[in-house]
């Protein structure tokens, strides 16, 4: 049911963990629905210099988390904001239709981390 690419990312997930002094943190999902993600970003000169993620969820949730972080790393904030779940799913050579929700979450976690970073920057300016 899963592509080889999905299984590869599930087996050896990239960028898992936390960033202690993260510039932005995004949290999505809840354990009730079976998926939960924490995304941490480090931003330098408007570029996502480092990204880490922690995921509670199925094979697809772990694989999309890994894929999303690989894609987002090195992107400008604007580019990362435009990253979509379809792009993540495509990069994994497809997901079972019922699992599209999981990839949605990984991208949402990233977008929330960026929002968190922006909010923090604003309050610093003030």
């Amino acid at each position: 049911m899963y592509t080889e690419k999905v299984m590869k990312h599930f087996k050896e997930p990239k960028n898992f963990g936390e960033i202690e002094d993260a510039d932005g943190v995004g949290e999505v999902g809840n354990p009730k629905c079976g998926d939960m993600m924490y995304c941490y970003i480090k931003v330098r000169k408007n570029i996502i210099e480092d990204i880490k993620i922690k995921t509670f969820g199925c094979v697809s949730a772990i694989a999309t988390s890994s894929m999303m972080t690989e894609m987002a790393k090195g992107m400008t904030l604007e580019e990362a904001e435009k990253l979509t779940r379809d792009e993540v799913a495509e990069a994994l050579e497809g997901l079972p239709p019922i699992k599209m929700h999981c990839s949605n979450l990984a991208v949402d976690a990233l977008h929330r981390a960026i929002l968190d970073y922006k909010n923090k920057s604003k309050s610093k300016e003030k």
Binding site: M7, G34, F56, I98
Partner: protein, 388 residues
């Protein structure tokens, strides 16, 4: 590398390997004695005898009479026949209420839901945190228009064995029919339909090292139900269709091969596996009871992680298991059985069912637990829920 190592099959609750001796029993009925059992020439005598031999073995195991066994295509058809057959008959007599439980197999639950749409009312009894029903609640639920109580013998997910003797006695006293889905328990828990006051009972061949596509309904003499499959006069006019002769012969052989000492062997191995997991993996909790538990069922909730990941990781090691997690089901619904025990969603998501068979070896359990330790540790490192 995958394919090189022997596969370890720990999903015997889903289906089982056909015993070689069962297969040997079946083969002649494909190419040699292939006559239609209903034909009257002598060529059809052998297949006819094969069916009656199997019927005798099956009925003997239940302490029933051979003519109380209706052979079917499996567990789901049998459950449908019992419920719908009884329902059609009861409706003609003005009775429309069924009592069942929230932890039944979908063959019962979805049939009950369908019957509700057809005008029947159904009471779904709740269970305690180990999956047992309350006998007083059952008694209170029985009404004047109740015609059937259907309560499974042993649960397929958590192995809870209901006290069907007490349920049978209560139903007989109240003059309500008692059906039990014994698909998981047959040959694994002793059953005596007379002693236990059972009116109808469902069993299936492929759960006991017999072939798929064969099952049977025990229908106590005197109990009236309507036919579901109409046509020829097979099965004493109760289930039409040319008999699956090789399958039925195999089913009979499978029953004959099931021995009480297999139960003892499985209980020891089951308890050994539970202990190994509990001793070596933190925050792993047994779902279901420790006593009155099916001899081949182990169901463990691993906290902070999700079951599909565990299942797929075990699969990469050549180990087959199942999970109650929503993420692995086509519907994305978590196990209705585990939810009904009062577990939290995240506890249900991380649950894995291991079901052993009489062929399971201790070495296979040791290998599985060893791999499991690493898998659980790895997945917990990825999860934000794991306490630091």
């Amino acid at each position: 590398m995958p394919g090189e190592r022997k596969m370890i099959y720990l999903d015997n609750g889903a289906t089982t390997k056909v015993d070689e001796r069962v297969l040997d029993e079946m083969i002649p009925y494909f190419t040699e004695h292939y006559g239609n059992p209903s034909s009257i020439y002598s060529f059809s005598k052998k297949p006819r005898q094969a069916i009656e031999k199997a019927r005798k073995i099956i009925s003997g195991k239940l302490n029933a009479n051979p003519d109380e066994i209706i052979l079917t295509s499996g567990g789901s058809e049998t459950d449908n026949l019992a419920l719908r057959g009884a329902a059609i008959y009861a409706k003609n007599n003005g009775k429309t209420h069924i009592i069942t439980t929230v932890i039944e197999h979908h063959a019962i639950l979805n049939t009950c839901r369908a019957l509700e749409k057809e005008g029947f009312s159904v009471t779904y009894l709740k269970v305690d945190n180990e999956g047992f029903i309350n006998l007083d609640e059952l008694e209170k639920a029985i009404r004047d228009d109740t015609f059937l109580v259907s309560i499974m013998h042993a649960n397929n997910e958590i192995g809870t064995i209901q006290d069907i003797s007490a349920i049978g006695k209560l139903c007989r006293g109240k003059r309500v029919y008692f059906h039990t889905d014994a698909v998981q328990s047959f040959t694994k828990v002793p059953i005596d339909v007379v002693e236990m006051n059972i009116d109808m009972l469902s069993i299936a061949s492929h759960k006991i090292h017999g072939p798929k596509g064969v099952g049977a309904l025990y229908l106590r003499k005197g109990v009236r139900i309507a036919n579901l499959i109409t046509g020829g006069s097979q099965e004493n006019n109760r289930r039409a269709g040319t008999e699956n002769v090789p399958g039925i012969a195999g089913f009979g052989k499978a029953v004959e091969l099931a021995k009480p000492e297999h139960i003892e062997k499985m209980i020891k191995l089951r308890d050994y596996m539970i202990k190994q997991i509990e001793d070596s993996i933190p925050d792993a909790k047994l779902n279901g009871p420790r006593q009155k538990r099916l001899c081949n069922n182990i169901n463990i909730g691993f906290r902070y992680i999700e079951g599909e990941g565990i299942l797929m990781s075990l699969d990469m090691e050549g180990i087959c298991v199942s999970t109650g997690s929503a993420c692995s089901s086509k519907s994305l619904d978590p196990s209705h059985v585990l939810m009904s025990l009062g577990l939290k969603h995240e506890e249900v998501h991380g649950s894995i069912r291991f079901t052993i068979s009489r062929f399971t070896e201790k070495e296979e359990i040791d290998f599985t637990v060893e791999k499991l330790k690493g898998i659980i540790e790895h997945l917990r490192k990825l999860s934000p829920l794991t306490p630091r």
